[in-house]
């Protein structure tokens, strides 16, 4: 197991190096630089002159070839210096990312927990009730939900729950008077603000996961050992939970592994609609502004999480399936 772990980590590091190298090459070859923004939009009398651009390019090291800049960036990363955002007035990249982590995790963890809490019982229930009218109705509803784009649902929820009924806040993460609230008040305030984004974030994957579990369970409940268990008089609940569900865990664990990076990656469109200060918006804005250090910092975070997720999933196989061992 130990040697397997070492091999996997070594491979992960190599992959990481390759990912960052390729991403750096790509973003540096995209037309535009962090200095491409047009101040003339603010005031037509203010224009960056060619000499000024040259001066700033030199100052920010943008005049160096991309591969030199990459190794400079990588060297700094080893020293725990992840660089600074040119377009955000030299703010440290770690601070910019750290500012967005809580908001992103709040959405993604709530959504993930809700998804699993609801989709597993729903998937099992669908298996038990397979073929009944109510199960077909629920299935149809879930398919409909799955096909409904989240930005449409977001707009609809905003119009109904925030504008027409006034039950929930329309956008943002906190109220204007947030600072004056008690701890309970603050929690409640964030809860209310998060309700609509979490709903939009969750319903699609809820539909997908419950269908996924149901499909796998349908396969498993037809196996001989399930028939044997039933013939031996094992109660139906135990057959489903202990005998059948455990065997559907392997593909579910793979899915969970792949979910890890999405915990921090955020969702650009939903974050924009709800003005949620998450990682998706930061990434999107950084790419648009060619804010190289921020893009690279975020790429590194997502890559690390993806690789960790895969490793975790592989290790969990051994936990859920005793036949799997690593050497």
């Amino acid at each position: 197991m130990f040697s397997y772990l070492v091999r996997r980590l070594a491979l992960a590091l190599l992959t990481l190096l390759l990912i960052t190298f390729v991403v750096y090459a790509l973003i540096r070859h995209m037309p535009g630089t962090p200095l491409t923004t047009d101040p003339a939009m603010m005031d037509p009398s203010k224009q960056i002159s060619a000499e000024e651009i040259e001066r700033l390019n030199k100052l920010y090291g943008l005049d160096k070839p991309w591969y030199v800049a990459y190794f400079h960036w990588a060297k700094n990363v080893v020293r725990l210096d992840f660089g600074r955002s040119i377009s955000q007035n030299n703010a440290p990249v770690t601070s910019l990312i750290a500012e967005r982590v809580p908001a992103t995790l709040l959405l993604s963890i709530s959504s993930l927990v809700l998804t699993y809490l609801l989709s597993i019982p729903l998937g099992l229930w669908s298996t038990v009730k397979s073929g009944t009218t109510i199960e077909r109705t629920v299935s149809t509803l879930l398919y409909m939900l799955y096909s409904l784009p989240s930005f449409v649902a977001a707009l609809f929820l905003q119009i109904v729950l925030a504008v027409k009924l006034g039950w929930l806040p329309l956008f943002g993460m906190t109220s204007d008077a947030y600072e004056s609230f008690s701890m309970m008040g603050k929690t409640w305030d964030i809860f209310l603000h998060a309700l609509m984004p979490v709903t939009c974030f969750t319903y699609g994957s809820l539909a997908y996961y419950s269908r996924f579990i149901r499909a796998n369970m349908q396969e498993v409940v037809r196996q001989d050992y399930i028939r044997t268990a039933r013939a031996k008089g094992v109660p139906p609940g135990q057959v489903i939970w202990r005998h059948a569900f455990r065997n559907t865990l392997i593909p579910l664990v793979t899915l969970m592994g792949l979910t890890l990076p999405s915990l921090l990656s955020g969702a650009v469109i939903l974050e924009q609609i709800f003005t949620w200060p998450g990682m998706g918006r930061l990434y999107f804005e950084a790419i648009g502004r060619r804010d190289y250090d921020v893009v690279m910092g975020l790429t590194l975070v997502f890559s690390v999480l993806t690789l960790l997720g895969q490793l975790l999933a592989d290790l969990l196989y051994a936990v859920v399936d005793p036949r799997v061992t690593y050497h």
Binding site: P44, R55, N89, I159, L170, P277, V304
Partner: protein, 657 residues
């Protein structure tokens, strides 16, 4: 405070997570990152340079004469020192009483230009001079479409920062809604210009203070100029114009003299830049010329010392920033010395999604927003909008066009460019795509401006016959009968097929596609390429495009268009060149007679219209939704906020029980 610490912990956590993933050895490195540069130090050197830091190193040495010599040797002309609120009040007092009361105007739905005029007339009236009936405890909630990147006024580069600085920054000059420039009576006692126009002398008020209580003096202005003119300091945009000033000297705390390189009619605009507090930056800049990286500068970034009416009290990246009225801006020793700003707080909420912004306006969560044509025309007519809001529109000098790259074989001939303008279906563009609410564009200057010539052109009308004749005359004919015109260029026959780049925005793509369809009927192939905005900007800046759809707002002086049209200038993306136009811009800079100067711009306008470096398409007016509680808004060609008094005249009346 706790949230801050938490961020720092997360920041460390992010760093540690990343470290764990790094090549072996990296995590064990004993090397520490260099500590951030700190303020001061006698041997301070600029970053990345072995040269000692020298403030104002872009300036040539200048022998400053004594003030007595200056006063004695020059003849001085008094220049306007104006209270912009008083100016607006005087203007409004010359108008007849509004046809409708405010209540009646709020009940009216804006369905015609007449309705619009009535609403604007009734709700645009200023509050009474003594402020009676104004709710001074009110909060104004505005939307902004991006983050506040920097609170340092000299590092400003975006519209959001411009919004922020309009309330927080200190400056000496302003302009009214007709773009007449003046020194602001809020900060200046007198302004004189030498008769040879080479020197300006300002006497500042002695009751000005920064938000930390330190007096604002002439030395702050001279210092800020030196900062702007220092090579190592990364000033994104504010240097332009200011670099035409030779020297600024503070003779005492209040007397300031600007020495110009040349006598130019644009010198007034060049003197208009934001001011930094010298007592905060003089010591810190040499150690950190970026004005951002050191601890001292980071602290100033978070808690800026401001000279304007409002100070920053909250800033949450990605969400909002809040500004609070500061008493020391208008009170001195218990006495009111300036107008008290109408709002206690102004909150800017970052909303990037236009649909969310409109819903926020309808839900009374923001108080004003600019509406798109689609929102004005279909989404703001119902009870849900009019329950808390009204809407008005005003003239704005924002125009959109196709820019032709004159260095390509397709558009080097002005007859081809004229043909493009004749080919466009303006009726379809204005009436269908733009809902009939925008006006046709008649060239680089707006027809209502002083620069528009008396014999100004009429807008183009689609005429495909003329377009075809012009293309024939320019040598673009369908020689091989494939339906696409062609011409021999450098010994090779090339088809008239070009790419039109356009920002990835729905209505812009529709407009470009309309042009494509129009050109198809005259044998020209136009490929529409929706392009990410940064790529679009870079391609234009590098002149690596054939045609582009774009738009421009207006500066407060016609000379700001020089960088659009003068040969090799920065915004002259189409590489247009007409020596007569170049000469006229130069001549206008040296012309001080207003009428003659405007006539020169009129001539430029006609020359450009003849050359058609752009196909001018339409003028986008300002369309705004305002909360019903707001009053005192008026439009300038730059919208309702960016002029004097602009946002400063907007108020909320006290609620009547």
């Amino acid at each position: 405070m706790k949230a801050r610490c938490w961020h720092k912990s997360v920041s460390k956590l992010v760093a540690i997570t990343l470290l764990l993933s790094l090549p072996i050895g990296g995590g064990c490195s004993s090397e520490k990152s260099a500590p951030p540069p700190e303020a001061g130090g006698e041997a301070a050197k600029s970053e990345g340079s072995e040269q000692p830091f020298e403030l104002g190193n872009m300036l040539e040495p200048f022998d400053v004469p004594s003030l007595e010599e200056l006063i004695a040797e020059h003849e001085w002309v008094d220049r306007p020192v104006v209270d912009s609120m008083k100016l607006m009040r005087d203007f409004q007092s010359s108008l007849p009483s509004p046809e409708l009361s405010a209540e009646e105007a709020l009940d009216l739905r804006n369905k015609s230009p007449e309705d619009n005029a009535k609403i604007l007339d009734a709700l645009g009236r200023l509050a009474s001079e003594d402020g009676e009936g104004v709710d001074y405890e009110a909060e104004l909630v505005m939307m902004t479409n991006g983050d506040l990147k920097s609170t340092n006024p000299l590092l400003t580069s975006s519209v959001t920062e411009s919004d922020y600085h309009s309330l927080s920054a200190f400056g000496l000059f302003s302009f009214d809604k007709e773009f007449n420039k003046f020194a602001s009576a809020d900060s200046v006692v007198s302004w004189q210009t030498s008769k040879d126009r080479l020197i300006d002398k300002i006497v500042m008020r002695d009751d000005l203070t920064w938000s930390d209580g330190t007096p604002i003096t002439a030395h702050d202005v001279a210092f800020s100029f030196q900062v702007l003119m220092t090579e190592e300091i990364p000033i994104p945009a504010m240097r332009q114009g200011t670099d035409k000033i030779r020297w600024i000297e503070a003779y005492d705390d209040h007397t300031l003299v600007y020495f110009h390189r040349e006598a130019l009619s644009t010198n007034d605009g060049n003197m208009n830049f934001y001011i930094l507090p010298e007592h905060k930056y003089a010591e810190t800049i040499p150690g950190d010329p970026t004005m951002a990286r050191s601890k001292g500068h980071s602290a100033l970034e978070d808690k800026p010392v401001v000279g304007g009416s409002y100070t920053l009290v909250k800033r949450t990246r990605g969400q909002e920033f809040v500004m609070q009225r500061r008493e020391s801006a208008y009170m001195r020793n218990g006495k009111q010395v300036r107008d008290k700003p109408y709002f206690k707080t102004v909150r800017f909420k970052a909303i990037e999604d236009r649909n969310t912004a409109l819903l926020a306006l309808k839900a009374d969560q923001i108080h004003a927003m600019e509406l798109t044509a689609e929102q004005w025309n279909g989404q703001s007519d119902g009870d849900d909008f009019y329950r808390d809001n009204t809407k008005t529109s005003g003239l704005a000098w924002i125009s959109f066009h196709f820019c032709w790259n004159t260095k390509t074989p397709y558009f080097e001939d002005k007859r081809v460019r004229q043909a493009m303008s004749y080919a466009m279906d303006y009726e379809e563009l204005l009436d269908t795509i733009l809902y009939g609410i925008y006006s046709p564009c008649q060239g680089t200057f707006h027809p209502t401006s002083k620069m528009f010539p008396k014999d100004g052109p009429e807008p183009f009308q689609q005429d495909l016959d003329i377009a075809e004749q012009l293309l024939d005359a320019a040598g673009w004919e369908d020689s091989d009968g494939d339906g696409i015109r062609d011409r021999e260029v450098n010994g090779r026959t090339i088809p008239f097929e070009f790419t039109l780049i356009v920002a990835n925005i729905e209505d812009r793509i529709k407009i470009a596609t309309l042009m494509k369809e129009c050109l198809e009927s005259i044998g020209v192939e136009c490929n529409v390429k929706p392009t990410e905005f940064t790529v679009l900007t870079q391609m234009q800046r590098d002149r690596k495009f054939q045609a582009a759809f774009a738009g421009w707002g207006t500066g407060a002086d016609p000379d700001t268009t020089a960088n659009l049209w003068v040969t090799n200038e920065g915004r002259n993306y189409g590489s247009y060149s007409n020596l007569r136009v170049d000469a006229l811009f130069e001549q206008a800079r040296h012309e001080f007679d207003e009428e003659k100067r405007m006539a020169l711009y009129g001539e430029i306008h006609n020359l450009l219209w003849e050359d058609q470096p752009y196909t001018w398409l339409f003028v986008r007016n300002s369309f705004y939704g305002f909360n019903k509680r707001l009053r005192g808004y008026n439009f300038s060609p730059r919208g309702p906020f960016s002029y004097g008094p602009g946002i400063g005249s907007i108020y909320m009346p006290t609620l009547t029980p």
